[in-house]
């Protein structure tokens, strides 16, 4: 075992592993709540970004599109670096939150939410945008001429018509948030029982030669991801049958 390292984290880590071979389920709980919260954030922000970007003039649209899609292609560590620049205790937003609310934005369980949201946002945004772009605008126009308010048209007509793309986007972002590692490890670190997520746990377990436990977590992660995708497929099938062409 690579136990030669010293320092607070290592000590914590060692005591964690020595506590026993039975699994501590905290990383599962933490991963799920981070993925769930960031999925909700990204669901709404991605949809609204997509809805407004589709309507912009071409030049601004192109530029904004690059900016909003960038986290998808940047290495997660770069995203993590940017997040630390913004949220770290010595940096603008982090310092403000610290002085006004006495809240630390990095190295806490919810730091993972920031990382997961930024990294999974482009998936939601791009799939929602694709769905909105293929939406038949005459449906919205006919709603308007019938006197329906724009919010009604958005939630009752546009969203259901685009549900396939939007649902796909939400699932992809959830899955991506669940698997987020790079930015999370930079901004939330790995503190067992506090900021540990499945992906950071797998890495730490492997690094410390605890392959058996790492393998168990890998299986857990696989099971969750497969279940989510399967559930969506079934849901999707049911819905399309209802509106099916005869």
């Amino acid at each position: 075992m690579k136990r030669g390292r010293t320092g607070f984290t290592s000590v914590l880590l060692c005591s964690y592993i020595e506590r026993g071979t039975q699994m501590d389920w905290y990383p599962l709980y933490n991963s799920l709540r981070i993925a769930a919260v960031s999925c909700i954030i990204v669901f709404f922000s991605g949809i609204f970004a997509a809805y407004y970007v589709v309507r912009l003039p071409r030049l601004i649209k192109g530029m904004l599109d690059v900016l909003l899609t960038l986290p998808l292609v940047l290495p997660p560590t770069v995203v993590g670096y940017f997040l630390i620049l913004l949220l770290g205790p010595g940096h603008p937003i982090g310092a403000w939150f610290m002085s006004v609310f006495s809240i630390k934005l990095v190295m806490t369980w919810y730091s993972g939410i920031f990382a997961a949201s930024v990294v999974s946002f482009p998936l939601m945004y791009r799939t929602a945008r694709g769905a909105f772009e293929s939406f038949d605008e005459t449906l919205a126009y006919s709603g308007q001429t019938l006197g329906l308010p724009n919010t009604y048209i958005f939630w009752r007509i546009r969203m259901p018509a685009c549900r396939q793309g939007i649902l796909a986007g939400a699932v992809l972002s959830f899955a991506r948030a669940l698997g987020e590692y790079g930015a999370t490890s930079m901004i939330a670190g790995y503190i067992p029982g506090r900021t540990a997520t499945i992906s950071t746990t797998v890495y730490q377990l492997w690094r410390t030669d605890n392959d058996n436990l790492a393998f168990k977590w890998v299986m857990v992660n696989l099971a969750i991801s497969a279940t989510v995708l399967l559930a969506v497929n079934m849901l999707e099938k049911k819905k399309t049958e209802r509106w099916a062409v005869k």
């Binding site: 006919s142 709603g143 006197g147 009604y152």
Partner: protein, 347 residues
Amino acid sequence: MSLSVNIVKTLGTFTLAVSFESNDGILGFLGASGTGKSMTLRCIAGIEKPDSGRIILDGVTLFDSEKHINLPPQERHVGYLFQNFALFPNMTVRQNILSGLYRQKDAVQKKKILEDMIGMLSLQGLENYYPSQLSGGQQQRAAVARILVSRPNLLLLDEPFSALDSFLREQMQAQLADVLRVFDKKVILVTHSRDEAYQLCSNLALLDNGHILRIGGTKELFADPGSRQGAVLTGCKNIADARKTGENEVEVPAWGVRFTTVQPVRDGLKAIGIRAHYFNPKSGANHYPISLVEEIEEPFAWVITFAYTGQNPDSPPVWWRIPKDRRTEVIPGELGVAPQNILLLYE
């Protein structure tokens, strides 16, 4: 009860500039594709914003570029029947119609209007179907029902029959005409079919390249379209350059003939038009020898193309359409046209 429209809108190289007034009844917009018919409707409904101008419906200003008035579509009370009917795919027929009753808050009243409309457009039994489960004709009836329950002051029909197959088209035309009579709405119908325009519209506007060529009573327009494009739009097959040679006489150089007319010929005559079914071997007037070019069989008529004896060989043959029961075995050597059937075209 009136509609007054005077708008300009530029889209790339295309400029739409239409100005018209309309009172009760069905006004038809007849024109080829891309002449700005649908764009005009969209501007009236508030889906598109004109660059400048004014739209006033029953005394209410819907749009006025000078006064900076541009009512949202929701406040215009203008119903719009789209070409694809635009039924909401995630809602049943009942829910679709109820969406047109959004403003009606009284639940009892709402139910009554819904039931009445379902009966009127014979949608009974289809209430719980989704649009994708309906035929084209049923979709159209559901879409019309949805619009009518929203009580529009003006109804815009954008090529309402183009999505239906021709078999269904005539049936739906008759049905829509009945429904519109009962509701007595002011209606604008956009179409590129002169049959539809003739059957459904009391008044007609001929559109070409973004402006109105002529507007007037449908029958008068068909009898006297006034311009080349107007003659083409109303289905005139034979159009040829012509010049005035007398108070009631014109010469058609390409055909090598002179025709007498009933209408006095004004200066500035550019061309004449003769509809394909107006030729008559028995007519005493405007009688000239012809030679047969080709015979084309249609389901209920023959099209006989011919050339006048003195016709310029470069000019296309003339069309004569004759119902099958009136056709004789031998094509006559001479054909005449009644003087009232010569269309005088000035543009």
